[in-house]
Amino acid sequence: MNDGTMTGDQDGGAAQRFDVTMTVNGIERTASCEGRRNLVDFLRHDLHLTGSHVGCEHGVCGACTVLVDDHAVRGCLMLAVQAEGRRVETIEGLSPEDGPLSDLPRLFAEQYALQCGFCTPGILMTLREVIRDTPDAGETELREALSGNLCRCTGYQNIVDAALAALALMRDGGEGA
C-alpha cells in the first residue's frame, strides 16, 4: 500500500479512493474503491465476482468467506485495501471454467449439501483450508471447523458428509478440495 498505489486525496476530501490490485483466482485484477470498501464488497461490486456472498456484515455468518494467501478469512471484516498484493481465492476459481466441477463442489452436489446455496461459497472456501490443514479430521472436528458458517437451510448434516467424503477422497490420493 505504500508503493504509490494510494490515490486518495491527502486532505479532507469526502471519499478517499485507492486503486487496489490483487491476484484473484490466479488473475491479477485492479479496481478503484473507497478506503472503507471491504474485501467482499470489492470482489462483488468492483470486480463483479458475485459468487462470494454477504449475510451479516458483522463477521458471524461466514457467507463472505474467501481465501487470502491460502487462509479462510471473513471478507466483510477485511478492507479491500488490506488485500493489496495478496492472493485471493473465491468460489469462481474452484472449478475450471468449462470443465466439470472440482471434487469438493461435486461432492456437495452428490450429498445434497446445498439448498438455496447462499451460504455455500463461504462454506466451500472454509473447507478448502480445513481439508488441506487437517486431513485426518473426523466429524466432530469438521463440525467445529464449520462453526463459523451459518446455514439456515441444510441443518449441516449433508455438508459434513460432503466434507467427510472429500477427506476420504483426498486420503485416497484425490484432490479433495
Binding site: 473507497e34 472503507r36 473465491t90 438455496c116 447462499f118 466429524e139 439456515r152 441443518g155 449441516y156
Partner: protein, 778 residues
C-alpha cells in the same frame, strides 16, 4: 401413464451447478445502469409522534440524489398504507403498515424516509445524519400487559390493543372436565424469533421507457407482489413485471410485500432511475417480520387411562404494531393444537394483541410448532399425572390407523374441514422409537450415568397441513427448438423446486430432468401464480406440472402417431424422442413441436390445435396432512444448564417422495430450525421495546457443532388429494422439536409434569428450574 423413471429417484439437483460455481444470480448480484442505492431512515424508538425531519444536511452530502418521505411519494401512490394480504372482514381498516411512517411511529425500525444515493455507503451516511423531530409516546412491549383494558395504546388512533378476538372449539368441554379422572394446567410462554434466511430481502426496481417497471425481488410471492404493486402504483398489469432471481432462503420472511419494496418501486418511477435496496442483517432484525410470542394458558382433562377428554384455555398472540397479512398465525396455532391425536372436546379463546414491535407473520412452521408444543407438553403433563409412560400416552391418544381419513371437528382458515387424509400415526411412532433405539435407551442411560452424564430421551409428534390452495400455475411448453420449459408461479427458495418439477415433467415426457428448464416466479412468463408458503409447492405446483406435462405428452404422441403413421398406443417418449415401440423408427420433440407450431399456409395435423404446450392450475380440494414422529436423546449438564443433543431421529410422512434425498434434506433443515427455537433463538427486547439482539452474535442461530446426526426416515402414505400423492415437507421438520427436547431434558433430570413451559429453554432457565425444585423438595 408414463413410466416413473425420475419421480421417486434422488436425481441430481438441476440448481447446483450454477450455485457451486458462483454463477447463480441473487438480487444483490444484479445491477442496472444509473442505479441508485437506497438506505432507510428508521424509527429509533418504539413509539413516538413524528413531528418532522431535518433533511438539509443529509441532502448536501455529495452523491445523495434524493431523500423521500411519504408526502414525496404521494404522486405515484394510490394508497398510503399497504393492502391487507389476506382478505378479512373482521380486522379494522387502519391496521396495515404505512408505506413510510406518516405521523406516528409504532416500532423500532419502522421505515420513515428513504435516501437514494450513488452508493449504499453514501446513502447510509446521509440517513445517519437526518435530524428526526419526535415526541416519544409510551411504548407497549409486554404482550400480557398490552391486552389489558387499561393498557396504553400501541397506536393512538386505534381502539385498544386487541385487534381481533375469536374462539375455536367444539363439543362440550366443561362436561369433559366433569367426567375427568385427571386434569393438568399449563402456562406456556412460547417464542419463535425471526426467519433469518442467510440472504436478506432485496429489490432492484428498474423503470422502462414506457413508464413501466421491472422489479427483481428476493421474494416468496412474485405474482402477489405484482398484484399489490399494480394496485399501489396504479400501473397497468402489462407495465409491471416482477422477476425473482435466485433466492437465498425465505422461511416466511419473504412472504410479504414490504414497505421497502413499495418505496423502492415508487422511487424508481418517481425518479426515472433504477433503485436498489438490499436489506442488511440489522434491518432484518428490526424490520423483517418475526413469529415471536404466544402465551398459552390451558387446562387439559383425561380419563383414568390417560385418554384425552377435553382441553380449554386461552392464547394471546403477539401481532406486533401492524397486521400486514392476517391473523393466520394465531389461527393456525390453536387449530394445530390437537395434532395427530383424538381430542373429543376443545375450546380456546384467542386474542390477537398488538405491541410496539415489528409485525409478525409465519416463519417456517407458521404457528404449528406452537400448537404442537402445547399439545405435546400437555401429554407429558398428563402422563406424569396418570402415572404412565410418555410414549404410552401418545399411543393411547393417536388417531388410530383405521380411522384415517380422519375428519377433525376443526376447520382451516379457508373454512374447509381439517381432515387427515392418509397415514398411520401409531406406525410412525413405532418406527421412530426403533430409529432411536428406544429399547436400548435405559442401558445407554445407565452407562452414561457411570461416567457422570445424565441422559434423557423425549418423543413428540406433529402433523402439518400442507399444499395450501387456491391453486398454483404451470405451463409446460415444447418450443420450436424442441427444448422443454416448465413455467410456474411457484417460488424456489432453496428447496430444489426446479429439480422436483423437472423430475415430474421428465417422467411424462421421457426426458432427463437436466434437459428441462424450469422458470419460476416471473410474472412476464406466466400470468397466474401464488408463490411459496405453507409447504405447498410440490403438492400444488407439482400437480399442475404433472397434469400439464401429461397433456403435452398426450398431444406429442398424437402428433407423432400422425407423422409416423403409427398407432398412438404404440408410441413411447424416450430421451426426447417419440418412438414406435420395439423399432428404431422415431421422431424427435423438435420435429413434433415444429409440426404443432405449423408452417405458414399449411394445415396442422388433423385434430391438433396450435402449439405444443399445456397450462394447468391445479386446485387442491383441501390441505394434505403429513405426520412426523421425532425422538431425541440429550445429555444435560445439570451444573451449567447446558443441553447437548446426542441422537435425533425423525420419521415423516411425505405422501410420496419425488426426490428422497431432497425430502431428507428439508427435514434436516426443519429440525435444526426447531433446535434453534427449542434452545437458542431469542429475539430480546428491553422494557422500552427496543430490540436487544440485533446481531447474529447475540441472536443465536444453530451452528454445526450443536447438531447431532439426524436419522431421517421417510414414510410414504400417498395423499388422495392430488395426482402425485405428495405432501409438503418444507416445514414439517421443525414442528415437534422443541417439545421433544423439553421432554428429553426433563427425563434426564428426573423432572416430571412438563415443568418446562417456556421456549427457548436457556441454561439459566434450567438452573432456575432445578433450584426451584430443590427448594420445593426441601
Amino acid at each position: 401413464m408414463a413410466e416413473r423413471r425420475y419421480i421417486g429417484q434422488s436425481t441430481p439437483r438441476v440448481e447446483d451447478d450454477a450455485l457451486l460455481r458462483g454463477k447463480a444470480r441473487f438480487v444483490d448480484d444484479l445491477t442496472a445502469p444509473g442505479v441508485l442505492h437506497a438506505a432507510f431512515l428508521r424509527s429509533p424508538v418504539a413509539h413516538a409522534r413524528l413531528l418532522g425531519l431535518d433533511l438539509e444536511e443529509a441532502r448536501a452530502i455529495p452523491g445523495v440524489v434524493a431523500i423521500l418521505t411519504l408526502a414525496d411519494l404521494k404522486d405515484v401512490l394510490t394508497e398510503e398504507r399497504l393492502p391487507l394480504q389476506f382478505i378479512s372482514k373482521t380486522l379494522p381498516p387502519d391496521i396495515t403498515p404505512y408505506v413510510l411512517a406518516k405521523d406516528e411511529m409504532l416500532y423500532v425500525g419502522e421505515p420513515v424516509a428513504v435516501v437514494l444515493a450513488d452508493s449504499r455507503a453514501t446513502a447510509e451516511d446521509a440517513a445517519s445524519i437526518i435530524g428526526i423531530d419526535l415526541e416519544e409516546m409510551t411504548p407497549v412491549g409486554d404482550l400480557r400487559a398490552a391486552v389489558e383494558p387499561d393498557a396504553p395504546p400501541v397506536c393512538s388512533t386505534r381502539a385498544g390493543n386487541v385487534c381481533e378476538a375469536f374462539e375455536v372449539g367444539y363439543a362440550d368441554v366443561d362436561a369433559a372436565f366433569r367426567e375427568a379422572a385427571h386434569s393438568v394446567r399449563l402456562s406456556m410462554n412460547q417464542h419463535r424469533g425471526g426467519a433469518h434466511p442467510i440472504e436478506g430481502r432485496g429489490i432492484l426496481a428498474e423503470p422502462d421507457a414506457g413508464g413501466g417497471l421491472v422489479v427483481r425481488s428476493s421474494t416468496q410471492l412474485a405474482h402477489e407482489a405484482r398484484a399489490f404493486l399494480v394496485a399501489l402504483l396504479d400501473l397497468d398489469e402489462n407495465r409491471l413485471r416482477v422477476v425473482t432471481p435466485d433466492v437465498g432462503g425465505g422461511f416466511g420472511a419473504k412472504f410479504l410485500l414490504y414497505p421497502e419494496e413499495v418505496v423502492a418501486s415508487a422511487a424508481a418511477l418517481l425518479l426515472g432511475r433504477p433503485v436498489k435496496w438490499i436489506e442488511d442483517r440489522r434491518e432484518h432484525f428490526l424490520a423483517a417480520i418475526q413469529e415471536r410470542d404466544q402465551l398459552w394458558e390451558i387446562e387439559a382433562a383425561c380419563d383414568a387411562e390417560g385418554r384425552l377428554l377435553g382441553v380449554r384455555g386461552s392464547m394471546i398472540h403477539d401481532a406486533g404494531a401492524y397486521v400486514p397479512q392476517g391473523i393466520n398465525l394465531a389461527y393456525n396455532a390453536v387449530t394445530a393444537y390437537p395434532g395427530p391425536y383424538v381430542l373429543p372436546a376443545y375450546h380456546m379463546d384467542v386474542r390477537v394483541g398488538m405491541t410496539n414491535k415489528v409485525p409478525t407473520i409465519p416463519v417456517r412452521g407458521a404457528g404449528y410448532p406452537e400448537g404442537t408444543f402445547a399439545m405435546e407438553r400437555t401429554l407429558d403433563a398428563l402422563a406424569a399425572r396418570v402415572g404412565i409412560d410418555r410414549v404410552e400416552i401418545r399411543r393411547r391418544n393417536l388417531v388410530p390407523a383405521e380411522s384415517i381419513p380422519y375428519a377433525t371437528p376443526l376447520k382451516s382458515r379457508s373454512g374447509a374441514g381439517i381432515t387427515y387424509d392418509s397415514g398411520d400415526f401409531p406406525a410412525l411412532l413405532d418406527q421412530v422409537l426403533e430409529a432411536i433405539d428406544h429399547a436400548g435407551f435405559e442401558a445407554r442411560r445407565a452407562e452414561a450415568a457411570r461416567a457422570g452424564r445424565r441422559l434423557g430421551i423425549g418423543v413428540a409428534c406433529g402433523i402439518k397441513g400442507t399444499g395450501r390452495g387456491p391453486y398454483e400455475s404451470a405451463i409446460v411448453r415444447v418450443g420450436r427448438s424442441g427444448k422443454v420449459t416448465v413455467f410456474t408461479g411457484a417460488m424456489p427458495m432453496g428447496q430444489g423446486l426446479k429439480t422436483a418439477m423437472a423430475q415430474i415433467c421428465g417422467d411424462a415426457l421421457g426426458l432427463p430432468p437436466d434437459r428441462i428448464e424450469v422458470i419460476c416466479g416471473d410474472t412476464g412468463t406466466i400470468p397466474l401464480g401464488i408463490g411459496g408458503f405453507a409447504s405447498r409447492q410440490t403438492v400444488v405446483a407439482g400437480s399442475s406440472v404433472a397434469r400439464a406435462s401429461a397433456a403435452v405428452r398426450e398431444k406429442a404422441i398424437r402428433i407423432a402417431a400422425h407423422l409416423l403413421e403409427a398407432d398412438g398406443g404404440d408410441i413411447e417418449l424416450v430421451d426426447g424422442e417419440a418412438r414406435v415401440k420395439g423399432t428404431n423408427v422415431g421422431i424427435d420433440l423438435r420435429a413434433i413441436a415444429a409440426s404443432a407450431h405449423g408452417s405458414p399456409g399449411y394445415a396442422l395435423p388433423p385434430g391438433v390445435d396450435p402449439g405444443l404446450e399445456a397450462s394447468e392450475n391445479f386446485m387442491p380440494k383441501g390441505l394434505t396432512y403429513g405426520m412426523g414422529a421425532h425422538a431425541v436423546e440429550v445429555a444435560v449438564d445439570e451444573e451449567t444448564g447446558l443441553v447437548t443433543l446426542t441422537r435425533y431421529a425423525v420419521v415423516n410422512d411425505c405422501g410420496r417422495a419425488i426426490n428422497p434425498r431432497m425430502v431428507e434434506a428439508q427435514i434436516h433443515g426443519g429440525v435444526v430450525h426447531g433446535i434453534g427455537n427449542a434452545l437458542f433463538e431469542y429475539m430480546d427486547y428491553d422494557d422500552q421495546a427496543q430490540p436487544v439482539t440485533t446481531t447474529l452474535a447475540d441472536y443465536l442461530m444453530v451452528t454445526a457443532p450443536e447438531v447431532p446426526r439426524i436419522d431421517v426416515r421417510i414414510a410414504e402414505y400417498p395423499s388422495p388429494l392430488n395426482p402425485l400423492g405428495v405432501k409438503g415437507v418444507g416445514e414439517a421438520g421443525c414442528l415437534p422439536v422443541a417439545p421433544a427436547i423439553a421432554s428429553a431434558v426433563e427425563d434426564a433430570l428426573g423432572v416430571r409434569e412438563a415443568a418446562i413451559q417456556r421456549v427457548p429453554l436457556s441454561p439459566p432457565d434450567l438452573i432456575d428450574l432445578l433450584r426451584a425444585r430443590a427448594a420445593d423438595a426441601a
